[in-house]
Amino acid sequence: MCTMIVEKVKVDGSGKGTSGWFELEQANVSYDHPFHAALEHALNIDFVNESQGPSARVAVELSEQAARALVRTILEVLDRASAEGH
């Protein structure tokens, strides 16, 4: 690991991995080298369920700009849902 910047958060929900849907248990959020994105460092989110092994993973690798835009969008959607009584 070259930056070692990582945080974990417990999550409830489902993710669709290579073997289909599975129950999510945790999200690992890191800023480190991506596997695929054409960036030296990326904001990586791995939605995982460690009890099901390393393959129970849904991964995204985002540029910093994209990650910040995603965070804003998630909050906007949640605020709107809350305002509409959901």
Binding site: C2, M4, V6, H33, A38, E40, D46, E50, P54
Partner: protein, 251 residues
């Protein structure tokens, strides 16, 4: 050196070896065919894991005449694709330094014990593997040469230290007992050119045998031909430097 008039052959396969704490772990072994004796290499893989690039490079060293062993430093995280396993390790904040040093020391002992070994073993690593390689040669005697390719985190600030990485590798420089070749890109952010300067100054301060090459127009991981940061001219020159250095100290 590859020639058109010389027999060559090699064997490459997954194997197993005793690592840190006596744990048996996977390793990828590639070796030239023939009676030898051959010099040996241990490879410390990078953050993306015990992956295809490292298998290719293990074979590359064997093609150049080295018995080469690449331990799976992520073995204890479980099995799956190298990416999935490496992602799990990334989520855990990396592997403990003591464990990496133990695994790489086990690889040294394995290679040196082979009957066709000439008794001289070097170590090569890139990215976190460059850091692990440096840490190992500083803490464990027995290696004859080390190649550190853009090892991030050799220079660590106190706030970066944690139970898995309790000591900045730079602190061990006084104990380095073999020559070191360093390959770096001047556009790298980990290590930065300033951190490479600090590393070089520490080597100089302790009178170590070192050779650093810094490449303009290259950033992190510029040997990785499967990534956009690959830089052809710099990588070709860098590989030449690697094999020239190893021939000098391991033949």
């Amino acid at each position: 050196m590859v020639r058109t008039d010389k027999y060559e052959g090699l064997l490459a396969e997954t194997s197993a070896m005793p690592g840190a704490h006596g744990d048996w772990i996977n390793a990828y072994l590639a070796r030239p065919l023939g009676p030898g004796p051959f010099p040996g290499m241990v490879l410390a893989h990078h953050m993306p894991g015990w992956d295809e690039w490292y298998r290719e490079v293990t074979i590359k060293f064997a093609l150049h005449g080295y018995i080469t062993l690449t331990p799976n430093l992520h073995f204890r995280a479980g099995h799956g694709t190298p990416e999935d396993v490496a992602a799990k390790v990334r989520g855990e904040g990396g592997i403990p330094d003591d464990q990496a040093v133990g695994d790489l020391t086990g690889a040294l002992q394995y290679v040196r014990a082979l009957l066709d070994s000439n008794g001289k073993v070097g170590i090569f690593g890139t990215c976190s593997g460059g850091r692990h390689a440096y840490l190992t040669v500083c803490r464990v005697p027995g290696f004859e040469a080390v190649v550190d390719c853009w090892g991030g985190g050799v220079v660590m600030a106190p706030e970066q230290l944690n139970p898995k990485t309790p000591v900045s590798p730079l602190e061990y420089t006084k104990d380095l007992a073999c020559p070191i070749l360093g390959i770096f890109g001047n556009e790298d952010k980990s290590p930065t050119p300033e951190q490479v300067d600090q590393h070089e100054a520490e080597l100089k301060k302790h009178g170590k045998n070192y050779e650093f090459h810094r490449y303009d127009g290259a950033g992190h991981g510029f040997f990785y031909h499967n990534r956009p940061n690959y830089r052809q001219a710099q990588a070709v020159d860098g590989w030449e430097k690697v094999f020239t250095f190893l021939e000098k100290y391991l033949s």
